[in-house]
Symmetry: C2
Subunit: 196 residues, 2 copies
């Protein structure tokens, strides 16, 4: 009984906290759980958390990194279903916004608590890598690729945020309507259809 769960001593508390933390963030409530609440859920005293994270912010950062992985996977999966690059590009953006709507609290946390731009340190953001990877193949110059990537990111992020904040109807069709920037990205045709 020392393999995984059940016996927190030695081993699993940190993972258990992350797992329960993510689960809590997915919960219907629009609020992130408190440190104490989280400890309660996992059946441990509040202060035990401090054996694994220096403070709540560190916990949140870990959760945010977990979320980045999830987002990266979602986008990768979306991109893999696309036949050509332009479609990959479009589906990637759509997956981004959909992820935000599907995990609102986690998504917010990812950007509120994330690392402060000095990219190097932590594991590289997979979502960002995928994006620049695509735009590099789509653009002539490296400069244009970077600009394209950041502009696309901005649009998707803006749509996601405005929808999360209730400023724009969070409608699935509406996502596509807004993401279809027509002439902005010349390669982006009216080709691909809705995926299920």
């Amino acid at each position: 009984m020392s393999t995984s769960t059940e016996n927190y001593h030695h081993g699993s508390l940190r993972d258990a906290l992350l797992k329960e933390g993510i689960a809590a963030l997915e919960g219907d409530k629009g609020k992130e759980p408190s440190l104490r609440e989280l400890a309660r859920r996992v059946g441990v005293s509040a202060t035990a958390v401090y054996r694994h994270f220096p403070d709540k912010q560190a916990l949140n950062r870990a959760l945010a990194r977990e979320g980045s992985k999830l987002l990266g996977n979602a986008q990768k999966k979306a991109a893999d279903t696309a036949p050509d690059l332009p479609t990959k590009f479009a589906l990637t953006g759509r997956a981004y916004v959909r992820f935000a709507l599907a995990h609102p609290v986690l998504f917010r946390l990812m950007f509120t608590q994330g690392e402060p731009v000095e990219s190097g340190e932590e594991g590289p953001d997979p979502a960002r890598e995928l994006l620049t990877d695509i735009t590099c193949k789509l653009s002539a110059t490296r400069e244009e690729a970077e600009r394209l990537a950041l502009q696309a990111w901005s649009i998707a992020h803006g749509i996601a945020m405005l929808m999360l904040d209730g400023r724009i109807p969070a409608d699935d069709k509406f996502i596509d309507h807004l993401l279809d920037t027509g002439s902005l990205f010349p390669f982006q045709g009216r080709s691909s259809e809705e995926s299920p």
Copy 2:
């Protein structure tokens, strides 16, 4: 001595709270002040606040509305310096992002605490009105105008948020670089220069 400040009994507490609240949000700290802290600053007991706002969220909403006015003014001022519509459009977007960078906490509050999309009720958002006003004149159909407005809003908002969250360098030149969406909006030329 009953005209304005000095004697809170009868009159000015609500306004004083809003004023001090905005001031606190502008303060260097990246954190919104607590209810109690705010009351302390204004020299009143914590519970006195509840005579003017049902709860903290209501106070925040009032502050958010105040912020919207400020943003609206900033954009209007920016738009007024522009000779033609396309330039108005461009400068409006730029003013939006710059406002966010200049008042990060307030800007966040405006969208975190704002009314839930059912526009009607409160005073109409001046910034949004200005934007749709411009895009209506720029687009042929009403539909295209609305789409243009929301797409432009999304880009600006995305840039603002990503910069606030430290995902993108919050550089002044960079704002223009990203906001220049080239062919997206055909009318948008390379005409206008930097404003002081």
